[in-house]
Amino acid sequence: MKKMICITCPTGCEMEVLCDGNKITVAGNRCPRGAAYAESEIKDPRRTVTAVIHSANGKFQSVRTNKPLPRPLIPGLLNTILQKVYPEFEPGAVIISDIEGTGVDLIATGPAR
């Protein structure tokens, strides 16, 4: 049995997760998103990544992944994007699509400033 806090929303349900082979039982979640999170957390933990990248003209632009990214890929993504200088993107524009074949995109969240 594994204790886990759901990070899907600010409520932060404290869940108890039981793994029996491929069968995962979740208790303590107040909505179905909790069960989905718990399952993902056991099989393939992922996080939404947020960061700031260097833009042209010494500006900075805030970015995020449009979906949670597998945790092991996070440092690599950050080390790559923090070393580069990017052109300015419109908020919402895709900066990197399909990161490492995961289907996750990096998008701009705010204007360059």
Binding site: V52, H54, F60, I74, P75, L78, N79, L82, Q83
Partner: protein
């Protein structure tokens, strides 16, 4: 190598005042300081009191004589140099009957020193002068000519005015050797820069002993006596209208409640002998003692209003309660101005004159400059200007109406002016303009101020410091550290 008639070592209140006084004469003068900016040593943490001349006897001490003279010089100085200064008056208050004999003694000394307007007060009169005194106040005396000053603002103004009138100011110049060759002494800084001087004035504060030794002057030791101060928000109900002194103890004038010239309230200082000349920490026990004492003195003081805590060191010359200001008997080109602790700030304008006269006695020719004196440009403090005045100013100076520090209401133009005058550290800008000195302590404006300093000075952000080398504020740009 640059040659000067006089090099003043130490850009605190004493050295700045001497250099400023010398800037009136046809002389080549340099002011050097080990720190990144003027006043960063002893003066920065000064309580900012313009003392009333009753603590020491004017017949037997030089310090009382200079204190009384200095006090009277501030009005003219403020008019020319535009620093924060108010003659709010000083009240010395006895909080128990046991203190009355000492209070009487102090009052009589004031009378003997011919302190103008000194007045013995019973409790009703005390409360009339200061309604915020606590119920414990028994009696006291009033010194109407006492006041408060922004110590760093005063020092910066002296230095800037001196610079404008020909004095050269060398920052980060820590004198490590002083070789005498013929008519000149070569002062070498830790980083290898050199200047030459016919006469050296030792106004090096805590390090006056070291400077004297390097120059072959008298052997003495300066010992630091630490004082912690606590600054309360400008809305604190504990702000009195006058400086409130307790009856002093043998080693200190006591812990005060000060309505600072900048509009805040300051309580302290404590007085503890320490061994280390760089020991500037604050401590919990001292804070508790200072709050406890000041709450007994003035109503409305509360820890909740605490905005900043800091400490400073007084340069004590053990065994000599007086200032040591004289031509050295061992090195004839050295003028000593050492052991300048309280009331050094009050005395400083008079010290400037006194040292100038010593230099004249040394044979330096003092010819007043024939060219008219250059006056510092107006400070144009946003917080002091009416909306109409500020709007008018905006026509010529767009940045005058962009407010960067919201707590103290400081404009970008004020910060830019400070940077252009050489104040390129965060503390330098803070002490010069008050930006970042308010209740948020720079929480909102520090990043903006750092950007302005970098833009105006050309110093990259990652090289900016709080108060000089070693106090770098940032370590690099995003991406310069590896994410693990």
């Amino acid at each position: 190598m640059k040659q000067y008639d006089v090099v003043v070592i130490g850009a605190g209140a004493t050295g700045a005042s001497i250099a400023w006084r010398l800037s009136h004469y046809d002389l080549q003068v340099a002011l050097v300081d080990r720190c990144a900016d003027a006043s960063f040593g002893v003066s920065k943490a000064n309580s900012g009191i313009v003392h009333g001349g009753f603590h020491h006897s004017a017949d037997s001490t030089l310090k009382a004589k200079l204190e009384l003279e200095g006090n009277e010089m501030f009005d003219a100085l403020q008019k020319e140099l535009d620093f924060e200064f108010t003659r709010c008056g000083i009240l010395v208050v006895a909080y128990s009957d046991e203190e009355l004999p000492q209070l009487q003694k102090l009052y009589e000394r004031g009378v003997a020193n011919k302190v103008p307007g000194i007045e013995m007060c019973d409790r009703p009169r005390l409360l009339e002068l200061e309604p915020k005194l606590t119920d414990a106040a028994v009696a006291g005396f009033f010194v109407p000519r006492g006041g408060v000053i922004e110590p760093y603002g005063y020092v910066f103004s002296l230095v800037e005015s001196a610079e404008l009138n020909g004095v050269e100011f060398w920052r980060n110049f820590q004198v490590v050797s002083a070789e005498k060759e013929g008519d000149f002494r070569t002062l070498t800084a830790a980083d290898g820069r050199k200047v030459q001087a016919r006469f050296v004035v030792n106004a090096a504060g805590l390090y006056a002993d070291e400077v004297s030794r390097i120059c072959g002057g008298e052997e003495f030791e300066i010992r630091p006596r630490k004082g912690e101060e606590y600054l309360l928000d400008r809305t604190s109900p504990g702000r009195p209208s006058k400086v409130i002194f307790p009856v002093p103890t043998p080693c200190s004038k006591g812990m005060l409640v000060i309505p600072t010239a900048g509009g805040t309230t300051m309580i302290g200082p404590s007085a503890t002998m320490v061994d280390d000349k760089e020991e500037n920490s604050t401590t919990q026990p001292e804070r508790e003692i200072i709050f406890e004492h000041s709450k007994k003195m003035v109503k409305g003081i509360c820890e909740r209003d605490l905005v900043a805590a800091f400490s400073g060191l007084r340069p004590v010359l053990p065994g000599n309660e007086d200032f040591f200001i004289a031509r050295s008997e061992k090195a004839s080109d050295l003028i000593q101005a050492a052991g300048i602790q309280s009331p050094g700030l009050t005395a400083s304008p008079a010290i400037g004159v006194y040292v100038k006269n010593i230099l004249a006695d040394c044979g330096i020719e003092l010819k007043e400059k024939s060219a008219p004196r250059k006056i510092l440009p107006p400070k144009n403090r946003a917080r002091e200007l009416t909306p109409e005045e500020l709007d008018k100013l905006h026509a010529d100076e767009k940045l005058a109406s962009r407010i960067i520090c919201r707590c103290e209401f400081i404009s970008e133009a004020e910060i830019v002016a400070a940077v252009r005058r050489g104040h390129v550290t965060l503390d330098g800008v803070k002490f010069r303009t008050r930006a970042g000195m308010g209740r948020c302590q720079g929480g909102f404006c520090a990043p903006k101020i750092m950007q302005i300093i970098s833009r105006e000075s050309g110093i990259p952000m990652e090289e900016l410091t709080k108060r000089g080398p070693g106090s770098e504020l940032l370590v690099g740009k995003l991406g310069s550290l590896e994410v693990k």
